[in-house]
């Protein structure tokens, strides 16, 4: 076993183990940086596979992505520091099964297929190739990817901004009424729907999937609202509040 094989083994082990630990750690920040570690190991393997640009760019991009991911984790997840043990899973057994089946299936396919052997020439200028390909024959694909990214950026800003399509998005966007200040058009929604809560109340530590998958999340949310002090009720307002805000908005604009 040469040095290259050994390095490859170590990097693969790091990639797989840290990839697994992502879903087994309690702290969200640790989870995102473990994923970064996994990506870094894969990036180095890619580097060994004679694709320096792709390998380093993976590390580069993933460092930024995982940094942002960590921030979002801290923003939205409970328990970001991992102070309490946590396990937020559903359909755990099914998911484990699916993962194993996917791994075994793909591995079996890999092992039984006879791949052509045509290794990349070490002297080949792969980065130059890539650049000429991107701005030459595959220009259209590359440009499409660029436009898609731009659209994603615009979409992301629109989606996450507070100003929704019909007024502030945190009040629940409602279509305008058929007449000025009238009832919103469209179907009414029952009040109970979607009353989920940021902090789920009950313990999921070591939960088996069955209990949780069948538990009613909405009921959980209500218990949390009622049972714990210091929790804020859902921001979601009902229709009448929505009407008021609609009215005031039309008044302001007219």
């Amino acid at each position: 076993m040469g040095l290259i094989d050994l390095t490859f083994l170590v990097l693969s082990a790091i990639a797989i183990v840290s990839g697994w630990r992502v879903f087994a750690t309690d702290s969200m920040v640790r989870a995102s940086f473990l994923l970064l570690l996994s990506f870094t190991a894969v990036g180095l393997i890619i580097l060994m596979l004679a694709a320096p640009y792709i390998g380093i760019a993976t590390i580069f991009m993933m460092a930024v992505e995982m940094m942002v991911m960590a921030l979002f984790m801290v923003m939205f997840m409970m328990n970001p520091a991992g102070l309490n043990p946590m396990m937020m899973v559903h359909q755990n057994r099914f998911a484990i099964g699916a993962g194993i089946v996917a791994f075994l299936g793909l591995s079996a396919a890999v092992l039984t297929t006879d791949f052509p052997t045509d290794p990349v020439d070490p002297g080949r200028q792969v980065i130059r190739d890539l650049g000429l390909e991107m701005l030459g024959p595959s220009m259209l694909i590359f440009e499409t990817a660029g436009v898609t990214l731009l659209a994603a950026m615009v979409g992301a800003v629109v989606l996450s901004a507070r100003t929704g399509r019909f007024g502030p998005s945190d009040e629940g966007s409602r279509p305008p009424g058929l007449e000025v200040g009238g009832e919103p058009a469209g179907r009414r929604v029952e009040k109970a729907s979607g009353h989920g809560h940021h902090h789920m109340h009950d313990s999921h530590v070591g939960d088996e999937d069955a209990q949780h998958a069948e538990g009613n999340p909405e009921a959980d949310g209500h218990n949390a609202d009622g049972g714990e002090s210091g929790r804020r009720p859902s921001l979601r307002s009902d229709w009448s509040a929505g009407n008021r805000s609609m009215t005031s908005k039309t008044e302001a604009t007219s």
Partner: protein, 307 residues
């Protein structure tokens, strides 16, 4: 063979640079403050030994592993970043075809290292410092990539050695002076200095360093200086022609240019005011990032017409 030589030179270069930066750090503030100049080699060493002797701080339930690893990661990134810099024609530790992409990866991982340093202390002020740094560090890094791509355009290569060779006719600082200034700003941001020191500032009682002491603080301090040296060498290479220069050997030119950038960075860190993070973020996204686009377009047009 030359690669082995470069790998041997690298730690010496880094060490000498750190010492020079530490001396400058003690000499420049009195100069700016209008006091008598007391540059000495002994000053930094006594402070370093004083720190080495202290106890390392501990908060309740910090993330110990990342707390210890963050300064080491930071230092390592400085060394890796320096490894793409050619010390003389053909003498480079990591002669990669994608050299500036590796430098970019170091930049982005630096943000991660600083964030981890603040986050793992498990204390409010370091955490605020960590967040702020991410908010400013990420866009600063983003614009540095445009600047670097504009520098790579004339060379038609992502390799740092080719970028240096492409400057034989004209240095990149002439091609894109604004890019040079933007890259200096990135240097301040990477080494947590002056106007871009959003991680360890005074108004957070030392920010990410607020809870550390002793050897941990010493390591962090050394890592910051190492990053300063690394970014100075990179600036000298990408914008000032690196080892190119008449009469003197290439290595000497690189040292001289790196030293010059080092002085400019340390001076700028003391002389210019730091904007509150919100204003700085607006400045970067609304003014500096478009400026870096413009520089990129300008260099592209120039090469297209006259290149």
């Amino acid at each position: 063979m030359t690669q082995v030589l470069a790998i041997m030179v690298l730690p010496l270069f880094l060490l000498a640079g750190i010492v020079a930066a530490a001396v400058l750090d003690r000499a420049v503030p009195p100069l700016v403050a209008g006091r008598s100049l007391k540059a000495s080699f002994v000053g930094p060493i006594t402070v370093a030994s004083s720190r080495a002797m202290g106890q390392t701080g501990a908060t309740e339930h910090p993330d110990t592993i990342s707390w210890i690893l963050a300064p080491i990661l930071y230092f390592t990134l400085a060394a890796i970043g320096l490894s793409v810099v050619p010390f003389a024609p053909g003498v480079v530790a990591a002669d990669l075809d994608a050299g500036i992409v590796l430098w970019g990866a170091c930049e982005s991982l630096t943000v991660v290292a600083v964030f981890l340093h603040g986050w793992s202390a498990n204390s409010p002020l370091p955490l605020i410092g960590a967040y702020r740094y991410v908010a400013i560090g990420l866009p600063a890094m983003l614009l540095s990539m445009f600047v670097l791509i504009a520098a790579a355009l004339p060379a038609q290569s992502l390799a740092v050695t080719d970028i240096v060779e492409a400057q034989r006719s004209v240095w990149n600082i002439v091609r894109q002076p604004a890019g040079f200034v933007l890259f200096l700003m990135l240097g301040l941001s990477l080494s947590l200095r002056g106007p871009f020191d959003f991680a360890d500032p005074y108004d957070l009682a030392g920010g990410t360093t607020a809870e550390i002491s002793g050897a941990a603080r010493l390591t962090w301090w050394l890592a910051r200086l190492a990053m300063l040296v690394s970014v100075s060498a990179m600036t000298a290479t990408v914008f000032l022609g690196g080892y190119l220069g008449p009469v003197l050997p290439g290595f000497v030119w690189l040292v001289v240019k790196t030293g010059l950038v080092l002085v400019v960075l340390v001076g700028a860190g003391e002389v210019f005011a730091r904007l509150p993070p919100d204003r700085m973020m607006n400045l970067i996204w609304l003014a500096l990032l478009p400026l870096s686009f413009l520089m990129l377009v300008a260099v592209g047009v120039e090469l297209l017409l006259w290149g």
